[in-house]
C-alpha cells in the first residue's frame, strides 16, 4: 500500500471541472513528480489532497480516507503542503513563520534539532529571523516555505512549483535540499513542476497530466529516455 493514493479523483471549481478521474500513488519515502502543461490540473490535484477544493472519488493517506476532512485536519495527519505562491505570511516575521510550522509539535528537543538543521540548510534564514517575511526575496521566501514545511515533520510533502520564478542557481540549491530532506528523513514528496527535466532528475516516478487526466505514468528515468514522451508532453 502506498502512503498516498488517489483513486478516480474528480474535482473542479463551481461548474468548471478540472480533474476528470485522476489516479496516482506516492509510495512511502519516494519522490513522485506530477508534470503537465499549465491548466492540466496539477495544482488542483494538490489542493484536492489537502481539502482546498471539493472532490469525488477517493484519496487515502496511510490507508485512511480523507473524504470530507477539513484542511487543518488533513495537515495534522502529517501532510505539509507548500502551495502555489508559497503561502508565506508576509505580515509576520521569518521566525514567526517558522514557528507556525512547528507549533503543533510536542517533541521539544527534536524540534530544536530540526531548527538547527533548517538553519544549516538555509543560513540566510538565520540571518533574517527577526525581519518581516515580506522583506525576503522570492528565492528566500521559497526557502522559508520549504523550511517551514520541514519543521512540520511531515510524512508527505506536497510541493507546488518550487522552482517558479527563481534564478537557476537558487533552483539548484533548493532541489539539492529537497533531495536531502527526502533522503535523510524518508519524507515522501509529491512534486508539481513545470521544469520537467529537473523534476524527473530528483524523482523516482512521474505522472504527466493532460487536461485533468493522467496521460503518461512511468519511472522517471524511463520517461527521461523516451523521446516521444519528452517531445509531446514535457517540451524539451
Amino acid at each position: 500500500m502506498a502512503l498516498l493514493e488517489l483513486e478516480e479523483v474528480r474535482a473542479g471549481y463551481g461548474p468548471t471541472s478540472v480533474l476528470h478521474g485522476v489516479s496516482l500513488a506516492v509510495p512511502e519515502g519516494q519522490i513522485v513528480s506530477l508534470l503537465g502543461a499549465n491548466g492540466a490540473g496539477k495544482t488542483t490535484t494538490l489542493r484536492s489532497i489537502t481539502g482546498g477544493v471539493r472532490w469525488t472519488g477517493d484519496i487515502r493517506f496511510d490507508g485512511r480516507s480523507l473524504r470530507r476532512m477539513h484542511t487543518e485536519d488533513v495537515v495534522r495527519l502529517g501532510i505539509a503542503h507548500v502551495p502555489e505562491g508559497r503561502g508565506i505570511l508576509t505580515e509576520l516575521t521569518v521566525d514567526e513563520n517558522l514557528k507556525l510550522g512547528s507549533h503543533l509539535r510536542r517533541d521539544g528537543p527534536a524540534v530544536r534539532k530540526d531548527y538547527d538543521r533548517v538553519f544549516e540548510y538555509f543560513p540566510v534564514l538565520r540571518e533574517r529571523r527577526r525581519l518581516s517575511a515580506s522583506t525576503l526575496s522570492g528565492g528566500e521566501q521559497q526557502m522559508l516555505a520549504l523550511a517551514r514545511a520541514f519543521l512540520m515533520k511531515p510524512r508527505l510533502m506536497l510541493l507546488d512549483e518550487p522552482s517558479l520564478g527563481l534564478a537557476p542557481m537558487i533552483v539548484r540549491a533548493i532541489f539539492e535540499i529537497i533531495r536531502t530532506i527526502n533522503g535523510a528523513d524518508r519524507v515522501a514528496i509529491l512534486l508539481v513542476e513545470q521544469n520537467a527535466r529537473l523534476a524527473l532528475d530528483v524523482s523516482s516516478e512521474a505522472y504527466v497530466l493532460e487536461v485533468g487526466r493522467v496521460a503518461v505514468r512511468g519511472a522517471s528515468d524511463e520517461l527521461q529516455g523516451n523521446e516521444s514522451v519528452r517531445r509531446s508532453y514535457l517540451g524539451y
Partner: protein
Amino acid sequence: MQEFLQQVISGVASGGIFASLALALVLIYNAMGLVNFAQGEMAMMATFIAFTLITRGVSYWIAFPVTLAIAFAGGIAIQRIVIRPVERAPLLTLVIITLGLATLLNGLAGAIFGYVPRSFPSPFSVQTVDILGAFFSFRDLGVITVSAAVLLLIYLLLQRTTVGLTMRAAAHHAEASRLLGVRVSWMLALGWGLASAVGAVSGIMVAPIILLEPNMMQTIIIYAFAAAVLGGIESPLGAVIGGLIVGVTVNLAGAYLPFVGGDLQLAVALAIIIGVLVLKPNGLLGRPTVRRV
C-alpha cells in the same frame, strides 16, 4: 501648568477607556475585515452583568474577572451562533448583522434592566493625591492602571504566545494558516471572545463616570471609532495610541476651548475621524494598502 497636567492625566484616563474599546474593534476588524457596530452594546451588556454581580454582594475585584470571563464566553457564543453561519456573506450583510445585534442587545438590556440610569460603583475613590503640585484623582490613576494592565496582557498574549501567533496568522491569511494546521474558525471565535472581554473592561471603567444605562456606550463607541481610525484600524498598538490621543485631545479641547466646553467634545472626536480619513486614511500605524498585480 498644574491644571494642564491634571487635564492631561484625566485625558489619559478617558484615553485608556477609549483604547480598550478601540482595541476590541481592531481585534475583530483584523480577524474578519469587519467593524463590529455591536461592540459598544456588548460592553454595556457585560457592565450590567458586573452590576448584577456587585449588587448581589459579590466583591468588586471578584465580579471584575468573572464578568470578563462571561464576556469572553459571550463573545465566542456570538461568533459561533450569529456570525459563523454567515461568515462568507458579503461584508455589507455582516455590517447589518452587527447593527442588528447592537439593537437587539440594547433592547434586551432595556427590557431586563430598564432605562433608568444607575450609579455604578468604582473601586477607586474620587479623592485626589498631590503629585508634583498637581492633583490627580485616584479614580483617573486607577482607570489608567487597569487599562494599561489589560492592554499589556493582550499585547503579551498576541505577541508572545503560540495561541496569539496562530490568531494573528488566521487573521492575516486564513488559507495559508489552514495549511499549517491552524483551526482558523476557532481562532476567529477566540478573537471575538477576546474583543468582547477587552470591550467589557471599557464598559466597567466608564460606567462609574457616566452612569449605567443601555445607551451608555453610544457616545463612547464614537470615541473608540475615532481612536481606531486614528491609529490605523488594523493596528492594535495604533488603537492604544489613538485612544490616548483622542482622550487627551478631547479633554483639553473641552477644558481650554470655550466654544467646545462639555457639549461639543463628541464633535471633536468626529472631527478627528473626518480629518484622519481625509489626510491620512491609513491612520498613524496602518500600513498603506499595497497590492501586487
